[in-house]
Amino acid sequence: MSKAIELTGFSYSYPDGTPALTDITLSIDHGRKVALIGPNGAGKSTLLLAMAGFVKGTGKASVDGLEVNRKNLRQIRTLLGGCLENPDDQLFMPTLFDDVAFGPLNMGLDGEMVKVRVAEALRTVGLADMGDKAPHHLSAGQKRAAAIATILSMSPKIITLDEPDGSLDPRNRNNLVKMLAELPQTLIIATCNMDFAAALADRAVLLDKGRIIAQGAAEEIMTDARLMTDHGLEVPSVLKEKANRSVNGRRSG
């Protein structure tokens, strides 16, 4: 069975020559919830853009077995839905309904099917009766949920989210965690909020300076206090006790 995402020896440099991603080899199975963790400027957002074919580098990249190239872009973008860091960039239409309908309409679905998809996506994110609202009338939490609805309405197999917890208060963050945890799709979440990552992810990929430093089970990576602090991160508060136990275990061993 093909992998949800597969990158082999992928590298990309910014137009001014600064390396953004170096020799990335990564494989993500379907149905996983993966946290891309790393400090600011580690290359997390660029890696998400590379998966959707927005940056062209060297090496191989494929989505659900389809090679990321110009010919396959349309199909790839129906398989992989990407949500940008700032919801105001994601919500560009005059109403929420139009925004959520934008993707399905571009997919060529008929009017009735589009309405069904929009209603379903808005219900999933808890904004069922807000289709007529203008995006600038929504709160930060609602904007974030709405941005995710714009992706869900296209029924992608894989969803990428760039810093989805940014500028959310704890209540909205918890609501977002609950909503994302229930989604059946493969989720790839770029974040530097370790508590958020720990609450959602079963796998973690640690990036720093455009390179993959570690990848594996989320708990295993996020409880390695030394690894985390060496790369400008911290052990999530829910895993701190476990991290301390493993440090003490190593000392006594």
Binding site: R77, M93, D98, M107, A134
Partner: protein, 258 residues
């Protein structure tokens, strides 16, 4: 930050709010053309024309304070044009208002006509945008076969103008927080230039992100939309009543005052 949205009252519910955007748009366009085409008029004729939009505003529950505030905001542009009339046209004319008779110039007559027409057409325009959601207006324009590119631009303008204003206000706040003394006109101008540059760069950055968001959802340059507009009996009745009133104003009321 909070803004005074132009369609702030468009989310209310009234007979006029429920009407089809296209019908209201066409009625307002025809009404505006009629008012503009009026020859040099007396204030009484313009007052008759103002009754229609005024009634709509009151019936739809739009606060008149909001209406006149918006007219005042835009008025400086028209005031410059109107107040220049008395300067170049000083032909003397005699004006009668009931028993009162006084001498003035043709320029002043033109000035008051321009201001009167401006207020009446603004009343109609505010009645339209205060009873029609902006997206319904855009959908109406699209169904009236206006170029799609123009409609997309208007949609983006409405969506992002408030974000741009927010950013500008944040930059100004950051500047005010560190402005401890007057730096002189030249330096202030340099700082203003840098602030504008920063705003422009952020806007370009934004535009790039929006482009990515659009492409990520399959946008290939063709704009698809689902129209939810529907002409009902109430729309036809409103259109018929408006046409009737405008014909009566144009052919029966206006000649009475000439």
């Amino acid at each position: 930050m909070h803004h005074a949205y132009i369609d702030k009252f468009a989310y209310q519910d009234s007979f006029f709010h429920r009407l089809d955007g296209r019908v209201k748009l066409i009625v307002v366009l025809v009404f505006t053309a009629l008012v503009i085409a009026l020859p040099r008029t007396s204030p009484a004729i313009l007052a008759c024309y103002a009754i229609g939009p005024f009634a709509v505003l009151v019936w739809a529950g739009i606060p008149l304070r909001f209406v006149f505030k918006h007219i005042l905001v835009i008025s400086p542009f028209v005031l410059v044009l109107a107040l220049s009339c008395p300067l170049y046209d000083r032909t003397p004319v005699t004006v009668a208002f009931g028993p009162l008779i006084w001498q003035t110039s043709l320029g002043w007559m033109r000035c008051f006509t321009i201001l009167g027409k401006f207020v009446v057409t603004m009343l109609a325009l505010i009645a339209l945008v205060s009873t029609t959601r902006f997206n319904d207006l855009l959908a109406g324009l699209q169904r009236l076969h206006l170029p799609k590119l123009l409609i997309i631009q208007l949609g983006f303008l409405y969506r992002y103008i408030f974000i741009l204003i927010d950013r500008a206000q944040h930059i100004l706040l950051a500047r005010a927080g560190r402005r401890l003394r007057n730096l002189g006109f030249k330096t202030e101008l340099q700082i203003a230039g840098a602030m504008l540059g920063s705003l422009l760069i952020r806007s370009i950055d934004n535009a790039e992100h929006i482009n990515i968001a659009m492409q990520a959802r399959g946008f290939d340059g063709t704009w698809h939309s689902l129209s939810r507009l529907k002409i009902r009996t109430a729309d036809l009745l409103f259109a018929a009543a408006s046409v009737g009133l405008m014909l009566a104003l144009n052919f029966f009321i206006t000649p009475l005052f000439r």
